[in-house]
C-alpha cells in the first residue's frame, strides 16, 4: 500500500488516560495517513470515544504525544485541534438545538463585519448564510430551510449538518464517531460517499463504528482497541470480519495481537 511511503498526518504516541479508578487508555499508539480512511473499532468501553476526544482536544491525556505533520504539537482544548485542521463529528453531534443551521455551521467561528468601524463588530449574517447555502447545496443535504432551527430537523438531517460543519473548514483530519448509527439506507450511502470524496482530497479520515459492514465498505485500515489497549491493526483488503471480531473480543487469531503491526510500520 502507498501509505507505507508517506508519513502519517496525525500520530498519537503512548497515550494513557485514567478516569478515577478506570484506566480508559493504556499506552495507545495511533496513526492516520493522508488520503486514507481508518476504521477504529472495539467493544463498548474499549476506549474509542476517549481516544477521539483526546485527539480533538476535549480531554487531555494523562501522558502521551500529539504529532501532527511530523511535528509534536500541544492540543489542550478544542480550538487547538481545529486550528491544526483536526475536525470532529461527535456521537451526540454537539449541535445547539435552539440555533439555526447557519449558526451551528459557524459555531465558534462566526464571521464578523465592522459595523461601527473600529468600535463594534457585528455578525455577518448575510455572508455566513450565503456560504452555508453553498455548502449545503454541494453536499446535497435536504433541509427545509437553512434558517430552520436544528431542533426541527430529523436525525439524518442533523447528522448531515454536523458532518458539513466538519468539512467546511479546510480540515486535514476528520474524525467521525458512529456517523451512520442513526441514519437510514440512503443517508448512510451519502455519508459513505462523502467519506470517500474526502479521502480523494487527501484528508485523513477516522471512522468509529460498530457496524463492521460499513467499516469494511469504506476503510483502508482497521485499528482494534480492546480494554484500553491497541489490540490489532488490520489491512481491510486482506482481512475479514471474523478476524476483526476475534480481535475485538480477544480470541486468538492469525495476525499480530498487541502493540504495533510490523507490516505497516513506516
Amino acid at each position: 500500500m502507498a501509505q507505507q511511503d508517506r508519513a502519517p498526518i496525525l500520530q498519537m504516541r503512548h497515550v494513557s488516560k485514567r478516569f478515577g479508578a478506570v484506566q480508559a487508555l493504556s499506552d495507545v499508539d495511533f496513526e492516520v495517513y493522508p488520503g486514507e480512511v481508518v476504521g477504529l473499532v472495539g467493544d463498548n468501553g474499549a476506549g474509542k470515544s476517549t481516544l477521539v476526544k483526546i485527539i480533538s482536544g476535549v480531554y487531555r491525556a494523562d501522558s502521551g504525544q500529539h504529532i501532527f505533520e511530523g511535528r509534536e504539537v500541544s492540543v489542550t482544548n478544542p480550538r487547538d485541534a481545529t486550528a491544526l485542521g483536526i475536525e470532529t463529528v461527535y456521537q451526540d453531534l454537539a449541535l445547539c438545538d435552539n440555533l439555526d443551521v447557519v449558526a451551528n455551521l459557524y459555531l465558534g467561528r462566526e464571521q464578523v463585519q465592522p459595523a461601527v468601524p473600529g468600535l463594534v463588530r457585528t455578525l455577518d449574517e448575510v455572508g455566513m448564510e450565503r456560504r452555508a447555502s453553498r455548502i449545503v447545496g454541494e453536499l446535497h443535504i435536504r433541509i427545509p430551510s437553512i434558517r430552520s432551527k436544528v431542533a426541527t430537523l430529523s436525525g439524518g438531517q442533523r447528522q448531515s449538518v454536523a458532518v458539513s460543519r466538519a468539512v467546511m473548514w479546510n480540515s486535514k483530519v476528520v474524525l467521525l464517531d458512529e456517523p451512520t448509527a442513526a441514519l437510514g439506507v440512503e443517508q448512510t450511502r451519502q455519508v459513505k460517499d462523502l467519506i470517500r470524496r474526502l479521502r480523494e482530497r487527501g484528508l485523513g479520515i477516522v471512522v468509529i463504528s460498530h457496524n463492521l459492514a460499513d467499516v469494511f465498505d469504506v476503510s483502508d485500515r482497521i485499528i482494534v482497541l480492546r480494554l484500553g489497549r491497541r489490540a490489532a491493526t488490520l489491512d481491510t483488503h486482506t482481512t475479514n470480519p471474523e478476524q476483526v471480531v476475534s480481535a475485538i473480543t480477544g480470541a486468538e487469531f492469525g495476525a499480530s495481537e498487541s502493540g504495533k503491526d510490523q507490516a505497516l510500520q513506516a
Binding site: 480533538s56 476535549v58 482544548n77 478544542p78 480550538r79 481545529t82 485542521g85 470532529t88 461527535y90 451526540d92 453531534l93 454537539a94 449541535l95 445547539c96 438545538d97 435552539n98 440555533l99 449558526a103 459555531l107 465558534g108 467561528r109 462566526e110 464578523v112 459595523a115 463594534v120 463588530r121 457585528t122 455578525l123 449574517e125 448575510v126 455572508g127 448564510e129 450565503r130 456560504r131 447555502s133 453553498r134 455548502i135 447545496g137 454541494e138 446535497h140 435536504r142 427545509p144 430551510s145 430552520s148 432551527k149 431542533a151 426541527t152 430537523l153 430529523s154 468539512v167 467546511m168 479546510n170 480540515s171 486535514k172 470524496r197 474526502l198 482530497r201 487527501g202 484528508l203
Partner: protein, 422 residues
C-alpha cells in the same frame, strides 16, 4: 488543502444549481414562511395586554389617559431594568435569585454615600453600580469556579445582600434623596423636541438596518421577505414608537396645573438598556455565544467557546443591571429604606421576563420580553390601584397571568416544532 467548495464547484456546478433551484421551488412560499416564524407566544401576550387595557379602561376611564400611561411606564422602569438582567441569565439557562436584594443593597450604598457621606452624585451612583458589578463577579466566580449551582449561590446572595443592606442603612429609617442629579435620574423629563428626535433616530436606524440587510441578501441571492412585509414591519415599529412618544409628549398635568410634558428619563434609561442588550445578544459574537451556552453548553465548549467566561460576564451584567434598577427605584421614590428591593421585586423581575417570552430553560428569548412582561404586570398592578382593589386580588391575577402566558408559549412552541418537522 483546498476548501471542499472550490474543488467540487466545477464538475457539479450545473447539477447543484439545478438541485438548489428545485429545492427552492419546493420550499414553502415566502409569505407562508414569514407567517410561520411569527412569534405566536409573544403575540398572544400582546393580545392579552390589549385585553387588559380595554378591561381597565372600561372600568376606570382614566386608565388610558396620558398621565396614567406615563406613570405606568415610569412605575415599571426600575423592575424592568432588573428584568433585562434576568433575561440574560435565563438565556444561558441559569437563574439569579439575588437581583432583588442586590438592587436594594446597591441603592442603599448610593443613598448612604449621597446623604450621609455627602458625596457627589457621580461618586454615589458610580460606586453603587460598581458594587453591583463586583457582586456579580463574586457570585459568578462561586458558580463557575467552585461549581456551586447558581440557584444556591444567588439564593445565599439574596439573604446575604439583604443583610448587608440593613447593616449599611443602620438604624436610620428612610433616607430621602435630595441630590438633584440623583433625583433627576428617574424624574427628569426630556424636552419635547428631543423626544421626537430620538424617536426619529430610532425608527430611522431600524428602517435603515432592515432595508440594508434586505438589499445585501438580494445581492447575495438569498431568499428575502416580500418588500411589502419588510416595509410593513418598519411602519408598525414606527407607528408604535411615535404613538408612545406622542402620548408622553402631550401635556399630562391635571387642568389648572403647570404643564408637564416630555419622555420621563426613567423610561429612556429602561428602553436604552433594552435596545443596547438586544443589539448585543442578537448582533454580536458574544450574544451568539450566550444563546449557544443556553442551548447546549457542551456543544459550545467543543466548538471552542469559553463557556465559563460567558457565564461570568452574564452574572456580572445581571447584578450590574440589578444595581441600576435599584438606583432607578430609589430615584423615582425619592427614598431608599430597609424595604427597597424586597417584597415582590425579585419575583416580578423574573415573571416579567418569562411572561414576555423568555424561556426558563435557556437559549430562547429577547430583551424586549422584559418590556412586554413588565407592561403586563405593571398594567395589572396600576389598573387595580385605580380601581382601589386589594393586593390579594392583584397577586392572584398576576399569578394566573404568569401561568397562562407560559402555558400558551409552551403550547405555541410545541406546535411550531411539530409543523417544522413535516
Amino acid at each position: 488543502m483546498k476548501n471542499i467548495e472550490q474543488t467540487t464547484a466545477r464538475p457539479e456546478s450545473a447539477q447543484s444549481r439545478e438541485e438548489s433551484s428545485a429545492s427552492a421551488r419546493s420550499q414553502p412560499s415566502r409569505i407562508a414562511r414569514a407567517w410561520a416564524q411569527l412569534d405566536v407566544g409573544s403575540l398572544t401576550v400582546v393580545f392579552g395586554l390589549v385585553v387588559i387595557a380595554v378591561v381597565f379602561q372600561i372600568a376606570n376611564h382614566n386608565f388610558l389617559s396620558p398621565l396614567n400611561l406615563a406613570n405606568l411606564m415610569v412605575q415599571i422602569s426600575a423592575v424592568g431594568a432588573i428584568s433585562v438582567g434576568v433575561v440574560l441569565v435565563l438565556l444561558i439557562g441559569e437563574i439569579d435569585l439575588s437581583v432583588g436584594a442586590v438592587s436594594g443593597f446597591c441603592a442603599s450604598v448610593m443613598a448612604v454615600l449621597s446623604i450621609k457621606a455627602h458625596q457627589p452624585a457621580l461618586v454615589a451612583v458610580g460606586v453603587g453600580v460598581l458594587i453591583g458589578a463586583a457582586i456579580g463577579l463574586l457570585q459568578g466566580f462561586w458558580f463557575v469556579k467552585l461549581h456551586v449551582p447558581a440557584f444556591i449561590v444567588t439564593l445565599a446572595g439574596s439573604l446575604g445582600w439583604f443583610g448587608a443592606q440593613l447593616y449599611v442603612l443602620g438604624s436610620t429609617g428612610t433616607l430621602n434623596m435630595t441630590d438633584p442629579l440623583i433625583v433627576g435620574i428617574a424624574n427628569a423629563r426630556l424636552p419635547v423636541i428631543l423626544g421626537w428626535l430620538l424617536g426619529i433616530i430610532f425608527v430611522g436606524v431600524n428602517a435603515y438596518a432592515v432595508l440594508l440587510e434586505r438589499r445585501q441578501r438580494v445581492r447575495s441571492g438569498l431568499p428575502v421577505q416580500p418588500l411589502g412585509i419588510a416595509l410593513g414591519q418598519v411602519a408598525i415599529v414606527g407607528a408604535g414608537v411615535f404613538l408612545a412618544i406622542g402620548i408622553m409628549n402631550v401635556d399630562r398635568s391635571p387642568a389648572g396645573f403647570a404643564p408637564v410634558r416630555g419622555v420621563p428619563s426613567a423610561v429612556l434609561i429602561f428602553i436604552a438598556f433594552i435596545v443596547l442588550f438586544d443589539f448585543i445578544t442578537r448582533r454580536t459574537r458574544f450574544g451568539r455565544y450566550v444563546f449557544a451556552v443556553g442551548g447546549n453548553a457542551e456543544a459550545a465548549r467543543r466548538a471552542g467557546i469559553n463557556v465559563n467566561q460567558i457565564r461570568m460576564i452574564v452574572f456580572v451584567l445581571a447584578s450590574t443591571l440589578a444595581a441600576c434598577g435599584g438606583i432607578l427605584a430609589g430615584s423615582r421614590l425619592l427614598a431608599v429604606n430597609q424595604s427597597s428591593g424586597s417584597g415582590d421585586v425579585l419575583l416580578n423581575a423574573i415573571a416579567a421576563a418569562v411572561i414576555g417570552g423568555t424561556s426558563l430553560f435557556g437559549g430562547r428569548g429577547s430583551t424586549w420580553s422584559a418590556l412586554l412582561g413588565a407592561l403586563v404586570i405593571g398594567s395589572i398592578s396600576n389598573g387595580m390601584d385605580l380601581l382601589a382593589l386589594s393586593s390579594s386580588i392583584k397577586f392572584m391575577v398576576t399569578g394566573a397571568v404568569l401561568l397562562l402566558a407560559v402555558t400558551l408559549d409552551a403550547y405555541a412552541r410545541s406546535r411550531r416544532e411539530a409543523s417544522g418537522r413535516s
